[in-house]
Amino acid sequence: MRQRWIGVLVFWAAVLALLWADWHGSTPHDRFAEPPPLALGHGPAADAGHCSLAPSSR
């Protein structure tokens, strides 16, 4: 049972480590320039990416 959980624990440790490294290596986020909670009525973030977007769509 314990052995079965090792894989998922290693996976989540890697995910958290990558998120930590990414947060500290990225451009600092301006917490107070956040978009409104809903895009409805305001639109998506200017740099929002989606799988269906062609390279020159935005």
Binding site: P37, G49, A54
Partner: protein
């Protein structure tokens, strides 16, 4: 005997309770952290992602399996559930898109890359036994094969996006959206009729074996996924997607390893460069993907189905990882996977979603044969 069963079942239930409490607490703390660090929009998307993961995992809602059991056993329930989910999302999303032009549909170009990518994706998802959402949710709950497939999927998505402009130069028409072309009413009428006709054909050609899914869980999951997909559109301004986030993770890892992406035709674009320099927590698709991973683990832990034991020969492991690479690469050529193109594309009126469905299903016919040749079980 009954006493022995009770004495082993009680500690197992207790362990499941502890695991669920710990994971649930982690999910709430992550919501608080994302909302505090990035904003309410990303916090809400995290919750939506958790919901996706819980529903997919709890009901074993699989796009890949749904298609495969139809191909092999004429079991229509999985495909019907997918149509219900798409229909619920469509009934809410199409009027929203018609009334709110600031919202984006999942509009992909009609390109040669779409046809090739969707066909290859359909074949590869049968060999990897997971599509975009399936690989993510099964990796989240600790399925060893999906844990091995996911890194390959991430790398393939990164490379596929990097080479997408070259593929588009082979031939492409602009996206065609039915909401813009016909209006909300006609789009709903045409697409719901098409889904109903397909569902009736599945009924006509159904097999006699009992369905893989019993009970109401798969229907609850289908309706829930449709509602969450509409919420995704309202919160993010764009439909539910999976693979853009995975490609972005691959590009960030490549960039951290010193790969210069500034001159790449896709990743070098100003909008992609902005994404590459921001945290993944600021990316809509990444946040829902991460929530989906944890939601799947929570639901599987509650049912005692987390971290399943899988024994496969080396050849099948290798085939699954190669299929993962192809899944990632082809999903970027096809402007989405089963979620971004099929589910969200059709639900938001994009014609590329229907083209994707036809080509990927044709690919799955080949993929199921490949699966049998590799000795993989249905």
């Amino acid at each position: 005997m009954a006493g022995a069963l009770t004495s082993t079942a009680a500690p197992a239930a207790s362990r499941r309770g502890v695991a669920c409490t710990a994971l649930g607490t982690g999910a709430v703390l992550a919501f608080a952290a994302i909302t505090w660090l990035v904003g309410w929009r990303q916090g809400l998307l995290w919750l939506i992602g958790l919901g996706y993961g819980v529903l997919l995992s709890a009901a074993a809602f699989g796009f890949t399996t749904g298609w495969r059991v139809w191909i092999t056993r004429r079991d229509p329930k999985g495909l019907w559930a997918q149509f219900v989910g798409i229909a619920v999302a469509m009934l809410l999303s199409v009027p929203l898109l018609a009334a709110h032009p600031e919202l984006d549909a999942a509009d992909g170009p009609l390109s040669l890359s779409l046809v090739v990518g969707a066909f290859v994706f359909g074949a590869a998802m049968q060999v990897a036994d997971g599509c975009g959402s399936g690989t993510l949710y099964k990796a989240g709950l600790g399925h060893p094969v999906s844990l091995a497939v996911l890194p390959a999927f991430v790398f393939g998505s990164f490379v596929g996006a990097a080479q997408l402009p070259a593929w588009l130069s082979l031939g492409a028409w602009p996206p065609l959206n039915l909401v813009q072309a016909l209006g909300a009413g006609w789009t709903l009428a045409a697409q719901l009729t098409a889904l109903a006709v397909l569902a009736a054909l599945l009924w006509r050609w159904r097999g006699t074996a009992p369905s893989r899914w019993s009970g109401a869980a798969v229907w609850v999951a289908a309706v829930g996924l449709g509602l969450l997909a509409a919420a995704n559109l309202a919160v993010a301004g764009q439909p539910w997607g999976i693979v853009y986030g995975l490609g972005l993770w691959g590009a960030k890892i490549a960039q951290a390893l010193g790969v210069d992406l500034q001159h790449n035709a896709f990743w070098g674009q100003p909008v992609q460069q902005a994404q590459l320099h921001a945290s993944v927590l600021a990316d809509n698709t990444s946040v829902t993907d991460l929530g989906l991973l944890l939601g799947a683990l929570i639901a599987a832990s509650a049912k005692g189905k987390a971290c399943p034991t899988v024994r496969l020969p080396r050849r099948q492991w290798l085939a699954a990882i190669v299929a993962g690479l192809l899944l990632g690469y082809s999903s970027r050529l096809a402007f989405g996977c089963n979620v971004g193109a099929y589910f969200s594309g059709i639900a938001t009126g994009s014609v590329h979603g229907w083209v994707w469905f036809g080509c990927a299903f044709a690919g799955s016919l080949l993929g199921v044969r490949l699966r049998h040749r590799l000795g993989m079980a249905d």
